[in-house]
Symmetry: C2
Subunit: 349 residues, 2 copies
C-alpha cells in the first residue's frame, strides 16, 4: 500500500478514483476551478501535466485551494520532477528510464524520499523502449510482454535505489491488450496497479471500452486505482468511474437510478421524467435504488428491488416502495410528488 497525500492506494483500501485536468497548469485559476468541479463529482486524486518550470511552481498555489491530493505528470525532465515535489506535488508520474541517466534519476528519487512522494511508473504502448519492442514485438492481447517488461524495467531502476513507494500502469488503447496485460502484470508484482485504457475516445466509445476493460479487471480483483479517460470534460470521467464501481458493487456514491427502456406499452413521456429524476438524484448522497418505470402493470414488479420508484400510464401514476404500491396520483402530478418523496428520504423523514 502507498499513500498519495492522505489517500491510501493498494492493499484493502477503497479503489481510488482519479482524473486529470486538461487545463494549462500555469493558469492557476482555471485549473483550480476544474479541480473543484472534479472534487464535487467525487474525484479523489487529481493529476496535472507539468510541462515547464512555471507549471511546476504553479502547483504550490493550486494546492492551497484544493483538498484532494495532486499528482504531477512529467515526461523526461528530472528537474521538473524535483521542482514539482518542492512545490507540493503529492505524487509524480514519470518513467525512470527516460530521465536521462542514473544521476538524474537519483536526484528525483532522493526528492521523492524526502517529500514522501510515491512514483507511478506509467508506461504505454506508444512509449515502449525500442529494444523491448525488438525482443518481444509490439504488445498485443496474445503477447503483451513488451508493455510488462517496460514497466518492470522501470520499477527495477527504482528498486535498485531502494525506493518502493511505487504504483504501476501499463496503458494501451486496445481493450484486450489492457486486459491481458494487467492480468499478467498482477501475477508478477504486488505493487498497487493504476488501471486505464489510453486514448479511449469520446463519451460513448470511451465509456464502453473503459467499462469493458476495467470492468473485467476489477471484477477479477485486479486494480487499486483508475482513471477513465474520455475526450470530454473530465467531470464526465468521474461520473463514469462511479457508475463502473457501482455496477460491480465495489463502491457506491449517491442513488442508483434504474429505468426501463420504454416500449409500446409506455403511455407517458418517460425519457423526460427519467432525466428530471436523474438530475435530482445526482445531488443526493444516500446510496438508495430509485426506479423510473413506464408501465403500472409490470413496473413495480420488475423494479421490486428499488427502494422507491414511479410508474405511469393511462392518466394515473403510482409511486411504489420495494415493489408495493405506496401512493396513487394523477399522472401530471407524478413527477412533483415523486421528487417530494425523494426529498423526504434525503431528509430522513
Amino acid at each position: 500500500m502507498i499513500h498519495v497525500g492522505r489517500v491510501p492506494v493498494g492493499g484493502n483500501s477503497p479503489i481510488a478514483v482519479q482524473s486529470m485536468t486538461n487545463t494549462d497548469t500555469r493558469d492557476v485559476e482555471t485549473t483550480v476551478a476544474q479541480i473543484m468541479a472534479l472534487e464535487d463529482a467525487g474525484c479523489e486524486i487529481i493529476r496535472v501535466a507539468v510541462l515547464d518550470t512555471e507549471a511546476a511552481q504553479a502547483i504550490s498555489s493550486i494546492r492551497e485551494q484544493i483538498t484532494i491530493p495532486l499528482i504531477a505528470d512529467i515526461h523526461f525532465d528530472s528537474r521538473l520532477a524535483v521542482s514539482a515535489m518542492e512545490n507540493g506535488a503529492q505524487g509524480i508520474r514519470i518513467n525512470p528510464g527516460n530521465l536521462g541517466g542514473a544521476d538524474k534519476l537519483a536526484r528525483v528519487v532522493d526528492a521523492a524520499r524526502a517529500y514522501r512522494v510515491p512514483i507511478r511508473v506509467g508506461v504505454n504502448s506508444g512509449s515502449i523502449e525500442k529494444d523491448l519492442l525488438k525482443e518481444h514485438g509490439y504488445p498485443t492481447s496474445e503477447n503483451p510482454t513488451a508493455l510488462i517488461e517496460s514497466a518492470m524495467r522501470n520499477v527495477r531502476l527504482l528498486e535498485a535505489l531502494d525506493f518502493e513507494e511505487i504504483k504501476i500502469s501499463i496503458k494501451s488503447s486496445d481493450t484486450l491488450t489492457a486486459i491481458s496485460g494487467y492480468q499478467q502484470l498482477s501475477k508478477l508484482t504486488d505493487y498497487p496497479l493504476h488501471l486505464g485504457v489510453t486514448e479511449a475516445g469520446g463519451l460513448i466509445a470511451g465509456t464502453v471500452k473503459s467499462s469493458v476493460a476495467l470492468g473485467i479487471l476489477l471484477h477479477q480483483g485486479i486494480g487499486d486505482t483508475f482513471r477513465i479517460s474520455l475526450t470530454r470534460d473530465p467531470v464526465e470521467e468521474i461520473r463514469v468511474c462511479f457508475e463502473l464501481l457501482r455496477s460491480l458493487k465495489i463502491r457506491e456514491r449517491g442513488p442508483e437510478l434504474i429505468s426501463c427502456p420504454t416500449c409500446g406499452r409506455t403511455q407517458i413521456d418517460l425519457f423526460s421524467i427519467a432525466e428530471e429524476v436523474e438530475r435530482y438524484v445526482q445531488k443526493m448522497e444516500k446510496p438508495i435504488k430509485v426506479a423510473v418505470m413506464g408501465c403500472v402493470v409490470n413496473g413495480p414488479g420488475e423494479a421490486k428491488e428499488a427502494d422507491i420508484g414511479l410508474a405511469g400510464g393511462n392518466g394515473v401514476g403510482i409511486i411504489f416502495k420495494k415493489g408495493k404500491l405506496y401512493k396513487k396520483v394523477k399522472e401530471e402530478e407524478l413527477l412533483a410528488a415523486f421528487l417530494d418523496e425523494l426529498k423526504k428520504i434525503e431528509q430522513n423523514q
Copy 2:
C-alpha cells in the same frame, strides 16, 4: 443454432445485435420509421411489443416495409402470440408458463412449428414464479438459482411438446446477478442465449452496466445475441452494441476512433475536432483505426496502431499514417485536410 428469419443465432454465427421499438406498434408509420433508422445503424433483429390484436395485425404491414426480421414481444396472451405469427412475426418472446394452461401453450407451439418461428423464453427477476422465489429466494449474484430455474421450467414446457427452436434470456437489473446467472445458465444448456441487463438506466449508467455485464460474458464466450437497453432513442442502443463488440474484437462496423483525453499539453480545440471526425466516420463502412491526438510530440507515437491520425499544436498540424508523418498543414486547415484523407480512404484512393 436457431434462425430468426434469415438471421442465424447461436453456434458459430456472428453475435446478433438487437433492439426494441418504443413506439406504439399499432402506429405502423412511426414504428416503420424507427425500425428503418435502427436498420441504418446496424440493427439486425427488431422486437416490437404486441399488446392487442390490432398490434398483432399491424405486424403484417410493418414487415412489408422493413428488411430485418421482426420478433413479437407478448405477455400472457396465447391468442396474440398466434395472431402475431399469422401476421408474419419471425420470432416470439413469451413465457410458456404464463399463457394460461397446456391447451393454450399447445396452440402457440403448433403455430410456431407451422410458421417455423423460434420462441425466446425471456424471464426476468421481476417475473419469477412465487414457488421458485419461495424455494430459492430472490435471485442474487451469489444465488441466481430462481432466475435460472424459472427459465428452465419454461424451456421444459416447450421441450415436452417436442419444440426446441428456443433461445433463453434471464434478465436482471443487477449487473452481478446477470453475470453469475448467465455463467451458470451457460453450463446447463446449449440453447442460444440472449443477453441483456434490464432497466439498465440512462445513456451513461446504462452503457456502463451493460458494457460491464455483457463485456464480461462475451469475453468468456457466453452469449449469442444481445440487446443493450437504455432509456433513450433505441438507435443509441445499437451504437453502444457495436462499440461493445468492437472493444472485444468480436465484430467491427465502420472505423474505430481513438482520441486522447487532452491535457495541459493540448494547444488546439481537440473536443470539437474529435466531434467533427466522429460525425464523419460514423458514416464510413471500412473498419479502419482513426486517431485524433492533442499533441504533435507524443500523438503519432501513442497512436502508432492507427491507420490514419491527426495531431495539432502550436500553429502546425500533422496528419500521420501508422505512426509516421504523412503531411504537415496549417492548423486551421487540419480538419479539412484530414477529412479529405478519410474520403480518399473511403474511395479506395
